[in-house]
Assembly symmetry: C2
Homo-oligomer: 233 residues x 2
């Protein structure tokens, strides 16, 4: 069966979307290798067949699934013989809860820095669209956001605290081996290292950095296969 993943592309080859990285790792966890189709911010019509305009979209034969969480559930149910993403139903429920924490707390903590930085890795056409939509969402210009960078940076650290506690006791969010909970969190840090030249994990957070390195090594260095800023190795 053909397996195709539609994912967000910034400028040529740059893949910053945290949601698409969740899905990339989810597929790799299941031992699946999709054809990857890059979609720019202004190319929503290319995924109109999915009935909506957001990536990631997965096409598995005749089945179309969109939304990273729906894709994870679909893959867990459709490929049950491969390694489990969730480790049972309790893990599946709490992975959803963890995803809400990532969406509501962790990602927003970095977004003030990363939203304007992403502008710099877009092609000119996408820049126009991206600036218009994101500045409206934030209620200020990217220049104003860059002016507040230091205060955005200062507000990041508290959001890491649950990760610090977890990674002080286990090599992965999900315990001895990585699983979907790790991919949820890693997507955020891959978004960061593919978007901003500054490493948003400070040197003092050695355990968090070490976890990120382990995540970067997974699946043959999957997350290292795209352009990124070297500072966040």
């Amino acid at each position: 069966m053909s397996l195709t993943l539609y994912e967000r592309q910034a400028k040529d080859g740059w893949r910053p979307s945290p949601f698409c990285w969740r899905t990339r790792f989810t597929l790799a966890h299941k031992g699946l290798t999709p054809d990857v189709v890059a979609i720019g911010f202004t190319e929503a019509e290319r995924i109109a067949f999915s009935g909506q305009g957001k990536v990631p979209v997965l096409v598995d034969g005749e089945r179309v699934v969109w939304d990273s969480w729906s894709i994870a559930g679909y893959l867990e149910d459709t490929y049950p013989d491969q390694s489990s993403l969730f480790g049972g139903n309790g893990g599946r429920e709490l992975a959803r809860m963890l995803g809400h924490w990532v969406d509501a707390t962790l990602q927003p903590a970095l977004a003030g820095v990363l939203a304007p930085a992403l502008y710099d890795i877009l092609d000119a056409e996408d820049q126009v669209y991206y600036r218009r939509t994101r500045e409206a969402r934030w209620g200020m210009t990217f220049e104003e956001m860059r002016g507040k960078r230091d205060s955005y940076l200062a507000a990041i650290s508290p959001a890491y605290e649950p990760l610090r506690l977890r990674l002080a006791e286990a090599p992965y969010i999900c315990g001895e081996k990585p699983a979907y909970g790790d991919y949820l969190v890693f997507g955020v840090f891959q978004w960061a290292r593919c978007t901003d030249p500054q490493d948003l994990i400070p040197a003092k957070d050695a355990e968090l950095r070490a976890w990120r390195s382990r995540m970067l090594d997974l699946f043959g260095g999957l997350a290292r296969s795209v352009p990124a800023f070297e500072s966040a190795a």
Copy 2:
């Protein structure tokens, strides 16, 4: 076998400890009814047999277990035939992660309000000890903390956001039925309703309040069996 839970008591009958409530619900989930022994803040010597000074402490026959997380793991492993607390190993790992979020984000968000309020529900002897230790920890007097109450209150809402997202889609944190993840979170709100006269879940958070009501109804109204402020029903 005799089963005894040592838990924190404030003034006569008042049981505010979020950690002890985790354990109360954990035991009830397993269908276990312990003898409950109340321990005041200045009575650490009564649990010295556990080798440390914090509650909850569980004594199951000859086995002594302390720390709410260790107790949960012990009960899951020792009573595997009763309803699972975690729903599999993946759920157990992510329950630990959720607990870190509760400890590092949710509880601290309410602590600025609740730490000085707890003083008012203590006996005179415990008040002396509690004020000395907590004021040292916070680096300010309870009176100074009460002066900052409005700013503490204003900072609570963002910490609820992952809970809002979860309870908009499921009746419990753990899905269709309550489990350990719910007890972790509920302990915080039981601490609040047993400590401060103001309901710390605002009326606009109707789904969060409805979840709390469901939790209060569990196990024959276990959490309603102790004194609390009526405002947070």
